[in-house]
């Protein structure tokens, strides 16, 4: 069943594991060099699929299929399309930067740290390229262990609590996912866990409704959507810088990717039915996240809450179910990965000097750290969505899509952009131009070349995507159109036969919405 051609994706996914083997063999001092080399090589290799990618087709490319288990038929099947390819590149780009930023920040158990980071990379890449649902789940869950260790061993003072909270939250979320996968298998009756096969099957509406919420539990926790976001600030604040970057830039994308890969194509009826609920939660997340970000005195917490807000844009874009929204959402996923990742790197760099993440301790950096200040301004403005920078394009598309769905939703979401400008600029004003904290000035010295090397690639992408997003958008077009067409078909069918939604299907949604509304008030 194997398809010919060079096994690009297998190489990309498992190269980090080879790095792990190499790290085990070399002495501790060389561990970071090996990790840097392997992860950089991984990025170079992942450029292969990017260059060779055929943009004209929504079909999966670079597909490799090998039988893993014969009964029930589970395959090692990988492939990428326009939705997953950008995320694969995002992951391979950020991992070497995570290694770089940990160069001096991680002093204890460097070997284990690099191993965790690389295992993490393999698991997340595996999630993005899996074409078999069980394989997907295996990677999805595997990722929890290295992340748990990253937060718990190398994190801040409250790390143990944050690590276990992260672990249990996400594990509990994915409990129903596994059952849903098995149920899908039996209902589709195709004797296959293949994601595309399962997407082509038709499921009764009541089943779709149940499965939708089962998927939702898993993916919404990962995104995280309001009100499932409470693990995020803890995990972000306590994690070491590299952990925060991996968490924000890669892990959060997995949930959104899950919606795109599974909820939309497999459960089109339920998606249509519940889209308003999800949109409502997204708008709440956008505004609530921004509102919470205002109140934070801790830089990492501020960025964590801004993540909640920005990921709200992503889910908003996905669930307006039109091409603009979804393309905007994918773009926004990449943008958020770059921008928020960079902001966490910035916080990590200053934390190494002052050992404080409090805004009050890190004020007035422009005087003593001019280069740093310039980078921070770039990424902060990118986070705000300044035209010419990456987030502007993504948010613009999402808002455009939202506007087509409902003017009210778009208006509410646009409020989030304004709030973002407010809390980010206020943060900038204090950190860059504030009065320097006297007890810290002696510790402040500007960035060295390694740190500049960590941030410069991301700054490059901020402007590239901001000014010329076409290459990235071109990659997505075919796949997104395919996705939207499937939704459109369902919409036509639904409009043609005005059947009221079944009673069972309406039930699971009502407690969800009820709770959220109560909490919002």
């Amino acid at each position: 069943m194997s398809s010919g051609g060079f096994p690009w994706l297998t190489l990309v996914v498992f190269l980090p594991l080879l790095g792990v083997a190499a790290i085990l063999l070399v002495e501790e001092a060389l561990a970071k060099w090996v990790a840097l080399g392997v992860s950089s090589l991984g990025f170079v290799v992942s450029l292969g699929p990017w260059i060779l990618f055929d943009q004209s087709t929504p079909a999966m490319q670079f597909v490799e299929t090998h039988q893993w288990i014969a009964s029930p038929s589970i395959n090692y099947a990988v492939g990428v399309d326009g939705i997953s390819l950008p995320l694969v590149l995002l992951t391979t780009l950020l991992t070497p930067l995570c290694v770089l930023v940990s160069w001096t920040a991680i002093e204890t158990r460097v070997r284990e740290f690099m191993i965790s980071l690389l295992v993490m990379e393999t698991a997340t890449l595996g999630v993005f390229v899996s074409l078999d649902f069980v394989l997907f789940y295996v990677f999805w869950e595997t990722m929890l262990i290295p992340m748990y260790l990253l937060i718990g061993i190398w994190g801040g003072p409250n790390r143990v609590y944050a690590a276990i909270k992260f672990f249990l939250y996400t594990l509990a979320g994915s409990v129903l996912l596994l059952v849903a996968i098995i149920v899908l298998y039996f209902y589709a009756g195709k004797e296959s866990f293949d994601i595309l096969t399962l997407s082509d099957a038709e499921y009764p509406a009541w089943l779709q409704a149940w499965l939708f919420w089962a998927f939702f539990a898993a993916f919404a926790v990962k995104v995280p959507m309001f009100p499932f976001h409470t693990w995020l600030p803890d995990a972000h604040v306590e994690a070491p810088t590299a952990g925060s970057v991996m968490l924000a830039s890669v892990l959060l994308k997995l949930g959104a990717y899950g919606f795109l890969r599974f909820s939309l194509p497999m459960l089109p009826d339920a998606t249509q039915q519940f889209t308003s609920v999800v949109l409502f939660l997204s708008v709440v997340a956008i505004i609530y996240g921004a509102y919470m970000a205002f109140a934070q005195a801790d830089l990492k917490k501020l960025i964590a809450y801004s993540s909640v807000s920005h990921m709200g844009f992503v889910t908003l874009g996905i669930f307006v179910l039109n091409a603009q929204g979804i393309e905007g959402a994918i773009l926004q996923m990449v943008n958020h990965g770059i921008t928020t990742g960079a902001l966490f790197l910035c916080v990590g760099i200053v934390y190494e000097r002052t050992h404080s993440r409090e805004i009050a301790d890190n004020s007035g950096l422009a005087a003593s750290m001019p280069v740093y200040a310039s980078f921070l301004v770039i990424f902060a403005l990118s986070s705000v969505g300044l035209p010419g920078m990456n987030s502007f394009v993504g948010e613009f598309f999402v808002l455009l899509g939202a506007f087509m769905w409902s003017k009210a939703v778009a208006t509410a979401a646009a409020l989030g952009v304004i709030l973002a400008a407010a809390y980010i600029l206020w943060m900038l004003q204090r950190v860059i131009y504030g009065i320097p904290a006297q007890h810290m000035t002696s510790k402040l010295h500007d960035m060295n070349w390694r740190e500049i090397g960590t941030l410069a690639p991301l700054a490059f992408f901020v402007f590239w995507i901001g000014l010329y997003p076409k290459p990235l958008l071109d990659v997505m077009h075919a796949s997104v159109d395919h996705l939207v067409q499937k939704q459109a078909k369902v919409m036509v069918v639904n409009a043609g036969s005005p059947v009221s939604p079944p009673v069972i299907a309406a039930n699971p949604s009502s407690p969800e919405t009820g709770d959220t509304e109560a909490e919002t008030r």
């Binding site: 893993w68 288990i69 014969a70 009964s71 029930p72 158990r109 284990e112 069980v134 789940y137 295996v138 990677f139 869950e141 595997t142 929890l144 262990i145 748990y148 260790l149 718990g152 061993i153 790390r159 143990v160 690590a163 276990i164 672990f167 249990l168 594990l171 509990a172 409990v175 129903l176 596994l178 059952v179 098995i182 149920v183 298998y185 039996f186």
Partner: protein
Amino acid sequence: MTIPLADLVTILPELIVVGVACLLLVLDPITPSNKKDLLAWMSVATLAVCFIVTAGSMGDRVFAFSDLVVVDGYASFWKLLLYVVSGMTILLSIGYLKEERIDLAEFYGFVLLSLTGMMIMVSGADLLVIYLGIELMSISLYIMAGFKRFEARSIESSAKYFILGAFSSGLLLYGISLIFGAAGSTRLMEIAAAVDARGLDDSMILIALMLVIVGFGFKVAAVPFHMWTPDVYQGAPTSVTAFMAVASKAASFGAFLRVMLEGFGGMKPNWSGLILGVCILTLILGNLVAIVQTNVKRMLAYSSIAHAGYALIGLVVAGWVGTEAGVSAKGVSSMMLYLAVYSFMTLGAFSIVAILRRGGEEGEDLDDFTGLAKRHRGAAFLMLLFMVSLAGIPPTAGFIGKFYLFMAAVNAGLTWLAVVGLIFAAVSAFYYLRVVMVMYMREPSPDQEDETRLALSPTATVVLALAAAGVVLFGLYPWPLVSLTATAALP
């Protein structure tokens, strides 16, 4: 009356094991004390021979001794698993018994005698034969549990195990006598015929059925018959605890399943609901009580109760009314798979407890694991692996085991049971990960660094390697084991 040779050939592995067990007891007094290890190696070699014999004759369904004993793929599967587990127990014990200063070679004799009992249990086609197997297994285990004879806890463990075990055996025997009254025989086939003839409402058979379930419930440590487990597991020498938690549980499940399906298969409507209740109670209690344990051995005892709950899902599926034969067999095979996987990860976890020493004693307290990752990287990583597997997180074998169980449950229309099982799997992650947390995220105090050490004998290393290999290989490439259980399952 002569015994036909063919019958003896059928039970050749049993004969070999029991023969060597007796030989060991004879050789023990005349072996110089510095050569006692040879006796352990002799038992391991015996198991290897038996493994080859059983594996070679696997497949056909052969009855012997006027249908008292059956050797089929199902029995052979359990026997193969029991050889591996017993072999690992012996290898672990070689170093461990010396460390505990209880290195008497009788120990290996008792392991083999107990194994004989287990083999008879899984091969018995007659309730009395199964009962004899249970007794042989249990009596050997009572002695082994009290092997640290100068330590009150071990003796308490032995006495408790003996009293409650004898009690449960009594209940089982009482059930068997009622069956004999109703069916006129204790053979499983004839019990099945009597069930068919007398219908579902026959009160005598119903009472007997209840007593049999209670009896086996004790042996597999299912709630509410689990009370003996924590104390016995905690007090017994750790290699014995591992043997009890793994081998005796596997053999009891093997016999339990055969009795329920081949003897009482006609009464599925009567017992499937009951087993379902026991299964859910076991999942709830095992997992919830494990959370509050601070002693790793005791935590693993509750964890073994919880895992009995998972394994029971397989029996529930096999007995669920309205499922087709194919689905029912999937319940059986998924349970066999689960117990096989469970054996490796549990043995591995107990092995770590056994080699971790604090002063002259076992480091079985959660505190003794503090900062283990700093002091003994390898041991800590293996414990991490076993804990992750016990929690059922991929890519370990524990996930594969749970996956097949839940597949079977959903296939039988018991989706909600799969949900319950998974919720408690998430709960269990909390207490398994606490061990990881203590090992990796806490700093050891200076006196801990002085006091705790690893007593890692070469044979214990082999056991750990085997257990880890089982957990990893069956996690990454489970197909050989899956296909073996699928072909060996009872229909």
